[in-house]
Symmetry: C2
Subunit: 210 residues, 2 copies
């Protein structure tokens, strides 16, 4: 499999971590989002959404959207599972994952922040305020959704919510949002980074890191 | 079941449509987002994310995040299914659904647009430009992900992608984005609105519509 990704993309981080947890081998093909490689004709033909990650399967089929790719990997390579089988617990894990993946990440996406700068004249400080604002709102909601005691978000093994959380925490550090008001989130990040398969998926460990 | 919702919320629209398609009865409890009812202590205790929809089950358990609620409903009340069982087709349906539910909706959410106005002094015209910009980008990507021939997005029965699409089309009309450049999206909207269970979930048919 070929993973089109970018080292600092948190959605790429989620998928790398899942591939590693499931013991799947893949070739990483970096797409330089800052240089605009995602908008080339060649990449747009591959992923019309012009984002990363995209996963090319061995038969050439290309999957897009990180949560959709994770769902496919979990259906096709079930061990270890990213989601529990009980529908109610599964819904709770998904709600926590989606609080990051829908309420925080899309609003702080590179293209959204770039548009905020060009169309609304936001400077870099204002752009960082924007990102910290949505992270703070989302992490507050997340804390209330998480149980008090567990190693990872809900269980003793890492799953979908954990992968979304650890990747978002990378952005929190990058943009200067302290995690001290969010102790459960911080605990989950620490548990994830102590897991070699997840640590190996972190941005700084990628071939295109600079 | 009690559905906390708002008539114009597109994420509420998705869940109402799914409940109707599956023939489930529910009581709708409106949360007036414009009046700020989602930020009251009582509602925040119910849904820490301060959004709609939230679904309260008969035992008092509250589920949040529309895609998580839809996943729970599909697992618990499998007929008719919102997602196909084949992992690859399922990934394609999810990618289309997520192009709406992640790339468009969160960025155009009421609270994001409100923050754009207060923190970045955007006027109403600029706010509408913002919304149309992300809908145009997302619908363009969506057209490239959809097959040429089907009644609904991928099959002859409505599923997750269709529910996300028909609800987003409501917002496109509301904010003045013509669907003519997006013929597949427009075809799917028409097929959905010709389906009584979905039509009954549309904003104008809700008790809190004004």
């Amino acid at each position: 499999m070929i993973l089109y990704s970018y080292w600092r993309s948190t959605t790429s981080y989620r998928v790398r971590a899942a591939l590693n947890l499931k013991g799947l081998s893949y070739t990483q093909r970096p797409v330089d989002l800052v240089a605009g490689e995602q908008r080339t004709d060649a990449y747009t033909a591959l992923n019309p959404g012009q984002g990363v990650p995209a996963l090319e399967l061995d038969d050439g089929t290309v999957l897009t959207q990180s949560l959709s790719i994770l769902d496919y990997l979990d259906a096709t390579y079930p061990e270890p599972p990213l989601l529990p089988s009980d529908p109610l617990l599964r819904a709770r894990v998904l709600a926590a994952a989606h609080t990051v993946a829908l309420d925080i990440h899309p609003v702080n996406n590179l293209r959204v922040v770039a548009h905020l700068k060009t169309a609304h004249n936001a400077n870099q400080d204002q752009a960082q305020d924007w990102m910290r604002h949505w992270m703070a709102e989302g992490f507050s909601a997340l804390e209330a959704l998480l149980p008090d005691r567990a190693t990872f978000a809900f269980t003793d093994t890492p799953g979908l919510a954990d992968l979304c959380i650890v990747a978002q925490c990378y952005n929190a550090h990058r943009w200067g949002l302290p995690l001290t008001p969010y102790p459960k989130t911080a605990r989950i990040e620490a548990a994830c980074l102590a897991t070699p398969a997840i640590k190996a998926a972190a941005p700084e460990a990628q071939p295109d890191a600079s």
